[in-house]
């Protein structure tokens, strides 16, 4: 019996004296309802395992692809401190991908298989990373808005039912809050800087606001997986709830910056104690998801190139290890 699920794939069903699947599902659901954590070798419905693999790997892919739009500005960061911070942030994103792939692998799938799914277009990743970073202000906007939206999603996941995923999320959330702060700090400097800088910041906000709202996904009425994921405590709040919370938190921040959110319908509603906001153009979201966003092709090509260009390196490392192991065996 090994810690990773790799040995369990394709196994025969449990021994004859075990309960029926319906009973095991009921017991499983009771554990989830009682906020008990499910760990890698625990019995789980196959659909739960599949959903988790999909959700966790999608999250991991998003972190990896997310390194690209910000990595784009590392060489051009306007001060040594900003360059250093951006390097650390993008490094963190790679780290987040590593934690998440590790969590996914506890469910009996290999990272190589997941990466193949990303590179041949079978797997999805967050739509937001298919937009271009056109100015330095975009780096501020991404930290402030995109990481801000990610945090909304991720904090509830720290309490999700699957142990390895929850623990990875705790680690990620600790790191993510610096990401958002560095973004906001960039925007603050720009907003209080020269006119050209303030214009740069406003322009970035204009381009990143709506895609950030789309990050939360369609209204749950239209979302396929929501209800079951809620029952299994893989998802704790609805897309709309999280999106509303994001707008409520962020609108005052934009006001503080002295920047205008590009939504004429954005207004505080005294009766609901929430911000009203305009309708999202879901056609853009669907187009981007289908691969027709501004940078879908470039992002995947960059990841494919990195993977292909690195193949000889990975193979050499394996060959070297085999050679040294053989030498050690002979010497022993």
């Amino acid at each position: 019996m090994y810690t990773q699920g790799l040995d369990a794939a394709g196994r025969e069903p449990a021994p004859p004296d075990a309960a029926s699947d319906a009973e095991r599902e009921a017991r499983f659901q009771a554990r989830v309802d009682a906020e008990e954590k499910i760990e890698p070798k625990d019995w789980m419905p196959e659909a739960y395992r599949r959903t988790l693999i999909r959700q966790i790997s999608q999250h991991a892919h998003s972190e990896i692809v997310g390194m690209l739009p910000e990595g784009n500005w590392i060489t051009r960061a306007p001060s040594l401190l900003r360059k250093t911070i951006l390097m650390a942030k993008v490094q963190d994103e790679g780290g987040h991908g590593a934690y998440l792939y590790a969590a996914a692998e506890t469910l009996g799938v290999s990272r190589e298989e997941l990466v193949d799914q990303l590179l041949d277009g079978r797997a999805k990743y967050s739509s937001i990373f298919n937009y271009p970073t056109l100015t330095w202000a975009d780096i501020g906007a991404i930290g402030w808005l995109v990481d801000g939206a990610a945090i909304m999603n991720q904090i509830p996941l720290c309490r999700c039912s699957y142990g390895p995923y929850a623990r990875a999320m705790v680690r990620i959330c600790k790191e993510e809050s610096f990401h958002q702060r560095q973004g906001f700090e960039i925007m603050l400097k720009l907003a209080r800087g020269a006119t050209a800088q303030k214009n740069m910041a406003q322009d970035a906000l204009n381009r990143w606001w709506w895609p950030s709202l789309m990050m939360f996904g369609p209204s749950d009425v239209d979302s396929k997986h929501s209800a079951q994921s809620m029952r299994w405590k893989i998802k704790r709040f609805s897309n709309d709830e999280l999106r509303q919370k994001f707008v409520d938190f962020t609108a005052p921040q934009a006001e503080f910056l002295g920047l205008a959110v590009p939504d004429p319908e954005l207004a505080w509603d005294e009766s609901t104690q929430h911000y009203r906001f305009g309708s999202i153009d879901w056609r853009e979201f669907e187009d981007v998801l289908k691969g027709h966003g501004p940078c879908n092709r470039e992002r995947l090509e960059a990841r494919r190139k990195a993977h292909e260009d690195g193949r000889w390196v990975r193979e050499a490392a394996v060959a070297h290890a085999a050679k040294r192991a053989a030498t050690a065996r002979v010497a022993a």
């Binding site: 040594l80 250093t84 990975r314 193979e315 070297h320």
Partner: protein, 264 residues
């Protein structure tokens, strides 16, 4: 820490100016190499290597910032780390030509890194005994980082040198291409001699010998052949660079030069 605590006893203007240039050599080496490594983040052969290269880049950035800050203080003209990094021109950068070479493939990057790490290890070890207390302190801190970088890069040199036929060929090709840039590291020029005489810089011969011995040991383990000495002498540390530095600086300095005086 005040600049006066680190100046030599007799305020010799020529030696003071030389000290600034010497510190800039160290600073620019770390800065330019960090800039090159920054290009890799998100494109490395494996996810863990993205993090490893980023780690080296971050350490080098830290060194560059400390050293540039010190150089600016010594110079006494009000230039801070950003003024020095973003507003100097190519001929004012004093990094060795090795570090500005393009990344190429992973073999090129790792060979460049290993040759530099092995050098920086000797240099920083020597600098911990510098008569310049500030430099000694910076070197002592940086040495811990360099030890890790050297372990990382030499590990990869061995894996890739003694890996597959393809990896071996790429590594030997990279080594042959980059070797000519190493003579600049181990040769003394007038600035080096001034700094050695002042006790600021460590003597060159022991460092060069130790560097050479380590290179030999690792290359042997990697089944790679040490190239013959090159005839052309590069002189990036005197401000005469290869064509690559211009493009690197154009990219790096663009925003600062487009918005003079702006803070970010």
């Amino acid at each position: 820490m005040s600049a006066t605590a680190t100046a030599s006893a007799a305020p010799d203007a020529a030696v003071a100016a030389a000290r600034v240039r010497y510190v800039l050599r160290l600073a620019d080496a770390s800065l330019v190499l960090a800039q090159r490594l920054g290009e890799w983040i998100g494109h490395a052969p494996a996810l863990e290597e993205d993090l490893g290269l980023a780690n080296t880049a971050l350490d080098l950035m830290g060194q560059a910032r400390l050293l540039l800050g010190y150089a600016g203080e010594l110079e006494g003209q009000g230039r801070d780390e950003d003024a020095l990094a973003f507003l100097r021109e190519e001929h004012e950068f004093l990094n060795p030509t090795l570090v500005e070479q393009p990344n190429g493939d992973f073999a090129h990057t790792i060979v460049r890194q290993f040759l530099f790490d092995a050098w920086q290890h000797e240099l920083y070890t020597g600098l911990t005994s510098s008569s310049d207390e500030r430099l000694a302190a910076i070197a002592a801190k940086a040495l811990k980082e360099t030890r890790y970088h050297l372990s990382y890069s030499s590990g990869w040199v061995v894996r890739l040198g003694d890996g597959t036929e393809e990896s071996h060929a790429r590594m030997q090709g990279a080594l042959d291409a980059l070797w000519p840039y190493t003579s600049e590291l181990v040769e003394t020029d007038e600035l080096d001699r001034k700094m050695i005489a002042a006790g600021v810089a460590p003597p060159m011969e022991p460092m060069a010998a130790a560097w050479s011995a380590r290179i030999d040991a690792v290359l042997r383990d990697a089944t790679l052949a040490r190239p013959a000495a090159a005839i052309y002498r590069w002189s990036g540390k005197q401000g005469r660079h290869s064509e690559h530095l211009g493009y690197l600086l154009a990219d790096m300095q663009h925003l600062a030069r487009t918005y003079p005086g702006a803070t970010w």
